[in-house]
Amino acid sequence: MSRTTRATGAAVVALALAVGTAACGDGGGSTDGPVTLTFWHGLTGPDGPAFQQVVDEFNDSQDEITIETEVLPWDSLYQQFLTAATSDDGPDIVAMSGSRLAQYAEQGVLAPTDDFYADTTYMDTSVLADGAVQASMYDGVNYGVPLNLGPVLLYWNKALFAEAGLDPEAPPTTWEEFEGMLPALTVDENGDGSPEQYPLAVGDHSTVPVFPTFLWNGGGGVVSDDGTSSMLGDPATVDAAQYWVDLVREDRITPVGMSGADADQLFQSQLAALTLNGPWLTTGLTEAGLDYGVTRPFAGPDGDDILGDVVSMTISQRLDEAETDAAFTFFAYWESVESQTTWANETGFPAVRTDMPDGAVTNEWAAIFGAPEILDSVRPYLTGVPSSGEINDDIFTPALQSALNGTGEVADLFPPAGEQVQAILDDAS
């Protein structure tokens, strides 16, 4: 072997060793090196800077783990994650809604997080709101750790209540009370049947699913809690849906066909006295100078469940042991009292912990949304159901819209829609 050949061979071996060592160091692997994890999330609103603040504090607090965040609108995040999930270039941690999580868990692109909850290695997870933890369950396995919990509560415009001659500090607490306030809260100055002010602003698509909560509290629902049976054809569901469809069509309590953004705008423009929404709305309303309050939604005859919109932090199935450990370490940091205090006070979201010390949460909205009696009543929607998007967007929403538009009757639309939902659930099982 010539000197040149030997030198080249040595260089190749050295390079291979160097690359191998670097690979181990970068990914964590079997050596104890720094770990860098990419984290995709869709917190594009005022909640984004608060989240980044906690991430920066975590990165500054130690040298072993670095979290690199990438923010994308939720729609883009879900679409891009589809292709990224199967490649090595995809994110290590992804925030996703509890209702979308099962779809990815079913395909095996997410890794379980049961070890995070198994013992107190990372934290005592019993202090986390149970509804938020349960939102990431699929098929008996947990695939996430709660990033945030957004109970959907009742917002009321105090000024419009006062103008209507109602007590501005007494929003309706039951469906019956709400119905009694309709004449006062509806303003149709020219009598053309199209009110200038509506009692309520609720979207029927592209929004947090408010109508399903009406079905819950009327004794019905879309899918049973165990995710195996359709409830759309149940008499209680049909009755509850009929009640709200009548209110919309006959009493014109809300415009038909609004998206969630339309409903927010209607309420913010003071063209509606009430709306149902999560804590993310408080920032905009406060900045707009609206005189409003937030309280528990009006209870139905069969319940007072509150929709809990949960975003969970999930990890990719390709993470190795060291990377998983790093991710869990960050999750524990996120759930700490200090981080949750920052999060709640900066955003108005409630803390995910149920044991926050007195005086820690100073944001009035976070205190309302995080009140124990609220968190105890939080109920997630369609979590653990892999075809949740198809059930809600392709079957339930069109059936509801047909009823609200008067192109069909609830009694004719919901039972066949229920059969379609059942077929999807049966297919999945």
Binding site: Y104, Q107, D262, G389, P398
Partner: protein, 298 residues
């Protein structure tokens, strides 16, 4: 010149032609032929992008033929195409005829009609969504002023939502087709009109005997483009109604997007795409044959 040198010239010419064609062919292969073949293959599989495709033969096609959502989307697509295609072509020809005459500010009017075509359809759709908003929309305000206030927004009612997205489709494209007709009108020799005028023909007779036949090439091209665009309508529906309310504006491409991206049924979505492709192919061939027979040259 010897046979050998003639062949050599032919060979060299052919080689040069292939070299000139190569970049275009390469792009066509990568961005058109390969995706097309891949779509046909995926339509015969069960594929969710996350796990490898699973061969299912013609199952997707059998399923879609019995799927009421596909039939609904097909009906909506057909309705959109049947209304929007002739209306767009008719208006484009009317604008072209009017704007081919000399009058004050003609260039300004031509530009105004053409401008919507160069604006992003998503932007136009968002603008129209605001214009049609039931609470603060300008169009709603005007309708209220003449006592035609809609009970709810045009986009929120199944029987008016389709009309609204059709309006945007026509408004967006009419300027582009108008320019094509204008180019055709300006290529018609003046002497033909003068001869017809000397024969004592009316304007309508000249339009039917001279203008319309000599615009047959443009009419064929515009018809194929307009019909194809109508069958592929997506952008303004996605932005303005997302197929709603109650799927009353869901067309085949919107359905493909929904089942593919939202429900991760890429195999099924591909099958619907293939059916749409075949429909457009048949329609284009029919138009080509129809107009080909009526082509006139003087």
């Amino acid at each position: 010149m010897s046979a050998r040198s003639t062949m050599s010239i032919h060979h060299r010419q052919a080689r040069a032609a292939w070299m000139f064609l190569a970049p275009g062919l390469l792009l066509l292969t990568i961005f058109t032929a390969w995706p097309l073949l891949r779509t046909v293959y995926l339509s015969l599989t069960d594929y969710n992008l996350l796990t490898p495709p699973e061969w299912v033969g013609l199952d997707n096609y059998r399923e879609l033929l019995a799927d009421p959502q596909v039939m609904n989307a097909f009906g909506n697509t057909l309705l959109y195409a049947v209304v929007v295609t002739p209306v767009t072509i008719g208006l484009a020809m009317l604008f072209a005829l009017a704007l081919n005459e000399r009058f004050f500010a003609r260039t300004l009017v031509r530009t105004a009609v053409f401008v919507p075509f160069v604006v992003s359809l998503a932007v136009i759709s968002i603008a129209f969504r605001f214009l049609l908003d039931p609470n603060y929309g300008l169009v709603t305000h005007w309708l209220s002023a003449i006592g035609l206030a809609p009970q709810q927004g045009a986009l929120a009612q199944p029987h008016t939502a389709m009309a609204a997205v059709m309006l945007v489709g026509v408004w967006k494209n009419v300027g582009f087709y108008m320019v094509m007709f204008l180019a055709g009108l300006q290529s018609i020799p003046r002497e033909l009109y003068e001869a017809a005028q000397l024969d004592g023909t009316s304007r309508l007779q000249r339009f039917r005997a001279v203008t319309l036949p000599l615009l047959s090439n443009q009419t064929m091209l515009v018809s194929i483009l307009a019909a194809t665009a109508s069958f592929q309508v997506f952008d303004q529906i996605k932005v303005m109604t997302n197929g709603g309310p109650a799927m009353s504006t869901e067309t085949l491409v919107v359905l493909v997007n929904r089942v593919g991206i939202n429900n991760l049924e890429f195999g099924y979505g591909s099958a619907v795409s293939v059916i749409l492709l075949v429909l457009i192919l048949i329609l284009s061939l029919a138009q080509y044959l129809y107009f080909g027979r009526r082509q006139v040259r003087y």
